[in-house]
């Protein structure tokens, strides 16, 4: 079949909407009609070349939609089912899947780096040439084919047109707060970067009962959104140094936990330097894989600081999604304020521009019904 999709042809070029071929779902795969897809900074990083995935590529990895067909051997899903897509569909047999860390699935990670699916080539093509999928999903498309275990049933009570964010920003950010950092009531928290993931960390911190949530960013729109979603204070880095600013807001100690949700070496270092003695800096943002950071080595033993990574919110998406849905239904997790603008598929390239310029919170592309 044919499908219209948001494509990147080569790094540094503008994305565009074009038509590609989409094969039928193979064994263990499902065909999904996409309803809504978010645009994430990670999609932008492919455009800039900072996230070195193979091109040409169908972008997008945060989506909700409806299964339209299942491939051979699929018994866990059925046509007509509403789903949220996971960009790390677990293989179920590698060490990490077996030991309860499916977000670290090695087979999924390897497939993502190659722009393929689990055990099969990417489902998109054009004139007989492969067009890769972003992280086993490729959701900025009318239709996509994904591994069946990556299409997670959408629990009742979460509208399909709002559910897309659960697939990446919310899973990643709320998970970082509740799983990776295991925040406790009364803790003080700083979040570097108030984009989709950072705003979700802020919500997770609020849900966990953190008493002080400081949003750190340079874009006024994002700082406003952060306040709406639970930040108790904001720090504009255009006006003050973030490390000094966080120390002054926490009695000179630094926050109990810091989160870096941008993916830049300098802010990773700042998050570590700002956290209090005995505190934990959680790195959620995806920096380019060849970048390195320099930290004071004495700080580790003498200050007992912890530097911790967080991938997909340290979540098992199949188990996490129902919990997130309950948080949405109970009114604790707010999706609407995060979506400040929606776009039709034809205007999706504008969403990338708006995201790059900081003009939106989380842009969402309205693709299907």
């Amino acid at each position: 079949m044919k499908t219209k999709a948001v494509l990147i042809e080569d790094y540094g070029e503008k994305v565009h909407v074009g038509e590609v071929d989409l094969r039928d779902p193979g064994p263990g795969e499902v065909l999904v009609e996409i309803a809504r897809s978010g645009v994430c900074h990670s999609d932008l990083h492919v455009v800039t070349g900072d996230l070195p995935l193979p091109v040409p590529m169908v972008l997008g990895h945060e989506a909700a939609g409806t299964i339209r067909a299942v491939g051979p051997g699929v018994h866990s899903a059925r046509a007509g089912e509403s789903v949220v897509l996971s960009w790390i569909p677990p293989c179920g047999s590698c060490r990490f899947c077996l030991e309860g860390q499916p977000q670290l699935c090695t087979r999924a990670a390897s497939a993502a780096m190659k722009g393929k699916l689990l055990g099969s080539d990417a489902p998109f093509s054009r004139a007989g040439e492969v067009v890769h999928s972003f992280s086993l999903t490729g959701t900025l498309s009318q239709y996509t084919v994904v591994p069946a275990q990556g299409a997670i049933p959408l629990p009742e009570g979460v509208p399909l047109d709002k559910a897309a964010l659960l697939g990446c920003a919310v899973m990643t950010g709320v998970g970082a707060a509740l799983n990776t950092a295991a925040l406790r009531p009364g803790q003080s928290v700083a979040v570097f970067g108030a984009g989709g993931v950072g705003l979700s960390v802020i919500q997770g911190a609020r849900i966990a009962g953190a008493s002080q949530i400081i949003a750190v960013d340079r874009v006024p729109l994002r700082l406003d959104l952060a306040r709406q979603l639970g930040a108790t204070e904001t720090l504009d880095v255009n006006e003050e140094d973030p490390v000094d600013g966080l120390l002054s807001r926490t009695g000179g100690y630094g926050p109990d936990v810091t989160f870096e949700a941008i993916g830049r070496p300098e802010t990773i270092v700042q998050a570590f330097n700002a956290v209090r003695r005995g505190g934990t800096a959680v790195i959620v943002g995806v920096a380019p894989p060849h970048e390195e950071i320099s930290l004071n080595s004495f700080a580790f033993p003498s200050q007992e600081k912890t530097l911790k990574g967080s991938w997909y919110g340290s979540s098992d998406p199949g188990r996490a999604l129902p919990k997130l849905a309950r948080l949405v239904r109970s009114g604790q997790l707010w999706l609407d304020p995060m979506v400040t603008k929606t776009y039709d598929l034809a205007d999706a390239p504008m969403a990338f521009d708006d995201l790059a310029e900081g003009r939106v919170g989380r842009p969402v592309v309205h693709i299907g019904l």
Binding site: P52, P54, A109, K114, G115
Partner: protein
């Protein structure tokens, strides 16, 4: 014990293998990188470069030693790491994360080649067999 005992041995083995790579269908992909690639080895110390040769008989030439000018992309690694990588026994993403491989330059352009390397890894194993190094294969 290191796989390559001397710089000369490393250059002989990997350099000769890279000569084979220049004849493979995948060799033309170097043009997607847009410039030269230099492999900087430690343990033992050696350098081998891939220099695009649009007018040459092959898509690139293998330069044993330092390239005449700065490379667009540089990969720095131990000889053992290289030996594992070309057998297909090293996940590049993991290797970068663990600093077993350090990359400088536009890494994304090199990562375009990753999907094609699945067809190149068996060629290194075949090369090792054909050059009497079957016991090197792991």
């Amino acid at each position: 014990m290191a796989r390559f005992e001397t710089p000369e041995e490393l250059v002989e083995v990997l350099g000769s293998f890279f000569d084979v790579v220049t004849t493979l269908p995948q060799a033309h992909l170097i043009h997607q990188v847009g410039g030269s690639i230099e492999f900087v080895y430690h343990k033992p110390e050696a350098r081998i470069g891939w220099l695009p040769t649009p007018e040459g008989p092959h898509p690139f030439a293998v330069v044993r030693g330092a390239l005449p000018a700065s490379a667009l992309l540089t990969f720095e690694q131990d000889g053992d790491t290289a030996h594992r990588f070309w057998q297909g026994n090293l996940n590049l993403q993991d290797a970068l994360a663990r600093q077993l491989v350090r990359a400088r330059g536009p890494l994304s352009r090199a990562m375009k080649l990753i999907p094609s390397l699945d067809d190149v890894y068996p060629e290194y194993r075949r090369f090792l067999e054909e050059t009497g190094r079957r016991d090197w294969i792991s």
